[in-house]
Symmetry: C2
């Protein structure tokens, strides 16, 4: 790093300017840092309004990314869509460190390599197999049962790039749609009957490792809708999930902030489902509920500062995503009840346009009891539309 | 307002871009708002790095201020240095509301009118008198005793524009230095032997009034050095101070966030000392210690949103200012101990240059007991230099 992180002028660059970068940027500002953003869409990313230093370019435009990195002291990412080879060349040619490292990205950008890496570290994952020919589709179904899930090895998120297939015919169709017949890497994954989805955030750098509580994730249509912290499972199980998350970060030698999603199966096994090399929706509750938020530890981790405590300051917290309910210019309507509720905290992401199902805002409610807090959060979420 | 506050594109303008605007801006961002800044110095104000929308001009340059206000949905201020008549004309000519209102500013920008206003509302203030001739100086000394304090009626802050005078000779000298002999309004104020300085923040708009805890302020060389929340005085006294602060906001029909500083005299009277129509150093502790921070309620108040609870979430909090210890480029050294302490929270303001005694950062420590927390905060403050 050209400057030390708490030196005037230190600039943290974000590749991607959505809500994850926005909430991280708020913490960078708190430490006196400047920020820069590399935006891949045009004039619509929230962080563009938070800095005079906006760079634009394609996700894998190495030349533009180099210009961007050269203007920063450290670069981090709010998504996993830039190719790790591009990241490596940008880092080498500019001398600006990128965290998480290009090598960590290489290990998780491809779901096949990711699963192999985690498996090798002793972390249980669902049965999987690379599908290279249509006959692999039937073979997987015969061995692991129907239905199962097909996934693009690269580039999927929030259910995009995934398909549940029920038989030979739908499998071939989905495989083609995911680009398998055009040579894109596609993965089959056994369907896991689960009773609960769990998630854990981990921050790690040379100063140490900090693990956040194990939380419960409630999804709707493959999108995270609600988070309950801590998860309503025995403490021993929560600890076990935290240990697996730490092992997963170590397996990729991660420096930065990482989110891990797990299935709790019907027979009480824990399987690692997804990993994210960045702040994660399942960690938004930490802003108010934990001593140090995921965003603050993200900044600390990638700039080499000592990490802060991830302990909860309250017995329970519930986060509810506010998804877009209209297509058009964004405007929050009906926020008054939330703003007037003592332990409710509203975060709006500053996106210019709303779209049905788009993540526009979230709401965190703190409380003494998970069940009551969940009930209150759900009621409040019904009062707001964006 | 052209847009509603939670509508995409809503822009909140700050006149002044220092740490108060910076910490307020972080809350505006949290609600999805954009910000713009009117900077009066050149390229050195922290908020300039937080938005692409930077306007520059003199403090009373009505034409530049109009351009600025026209680009905003609401304008607020982080200092009280713009003339209220200028604010009024800018508001009238652009149609952009300014909060606190120009009329509230008129009532407090001149310490003479301010004292008259608060006195008329039944709020006790120290004995004072406008000094128009050198003979007034002696008369005041004879009536209220020496030493006493001379103050510029307009433009003072953090002890600038104040002088303690001990006798006739020093009084005439100080009066001249403050511009009294050139016709500037100067005020004499009786010296108040006090045992403690107390402060209270109040947020107010059409939706209601919220009053923060009464805190204890420890000054060094006329600059706030430490804040202890709540103040170590009986609760009945704290409530009394809060009531006076609310009465003071009502006396100026204030919309926005206001800070009030009080003296607790040797004979247990409470006198209003200073008022600030903006977030205040004595309210920084609220970021971590209260349900809703002063900065969040500042944003809510000036944009017409419902106000949030000002209740403390912890039994005690101590804020310590980190003042510049060198003259030169700013760099925080030795922050590791603070960052590694669970209940310590560091805020660095992003100023490019440090200067001996300049407010560069602050540290808030949360705890169970005021005395222990103060001790811990003081120890931690010794570990950092900027």
């Amino acid at each position: 790093m050209k400057r030390s992180p708490l030196q005037a002028g230190f600039t943290l660059g974000f590749i991607g300017g959505g809500q994850l970068a926005r909430m991280s940027a708020l913490q960078a500002f708190r430490f006196g840092m400047n920020i820069a953003v590399y935006a891949t869409s045009h004039g619509t990313e929230p962080v563009e309004m938070m800095t005079p230093r906006v760079f634009r370019g394609g996700l894998n435009d190495a030349s533009r990314l180099r210009d961007f990195a050269a203007a920063c002291d450290v670069v981090t990412l709010e998504n996993e869509f830039v190719d790790s080879a591009v990241l490596r060349s940008v880092q080498e040619q500019t001398g600006t460190p990128i965290y998480p490292s290009p090598e960590s990205f290489r290990l998780i950008e491809n779901k096949l390599i990711e699963k192999q890496t985690f498996e090798a570290a002793g972390i249980p994952v669902a049965a999987y197999r690379q599908i290279t020919t249509p006959s692999d589709l039937d073979a997987f179904g015969s061995e692991h049962g129907w239905p199962y899930v097909l996934k693009s090895a690269k580039g999927g998120y929030d259910g995009y790039g995934n398909a549940t297939v029920r038989d030979s015919e739908s499998a071939v169709q989905a495989w083609s749609k995911l680009g398998g017949s055009d040579g894109r890497a596609v993965l089959a994954e056994a369907f896991v009957p689960f009773t609960m989805e769990l998630a854990v955030m981990v921050a790690r750098n040379a100063t140490g490792t900090v693990v956040y509580p194990c939380v419960e994730s409630i999804q709707q249509g493959h999108i995270c809708k609600e988070i309950i912290a801590p998860a309503r499972v025995p403490e021993s199980l929560r600890v076990q999930v935290q240990e697996l998350a730490v092992a997963a970060v170590e397996a990729i030698d991660g420096v930065g902030l990482f989110g891990f999603e797990f299935f709790l199966t019907h027979d009480n096994r824990i399987l690692l489902n997804e990993s994210a090399p960045r702040p994660h929706n399942s960690g938004h509750y930490t802003i108010e509920a934990c001593v140090t938020s995921q965003f603050e530890n993200h900044i600390r981790a990638v700039t080499g500062l000592p990490l802060g405590s991830a302990a909860m300051r309250v017995p329970a917290a519930v986060m509810v995503n506010v998804l877009g309910s209209v297509n058009g210019p964004a405007q929050a309507v009906g926020a008054a009840d939330i703003l007037a509720t003592r332990d409710a905290h509203l975060h709006i992401y500053g996106k210019s346009g709303s779209r049905t199902g788009r993540k526009m805002a979230h709401l965190t409610v703190l409380g003494a009891d998970a069940g009551e807090t969940l009930e209150q959060a759900r009621k409040l979420e019904q009062t707001i539309q964006i």
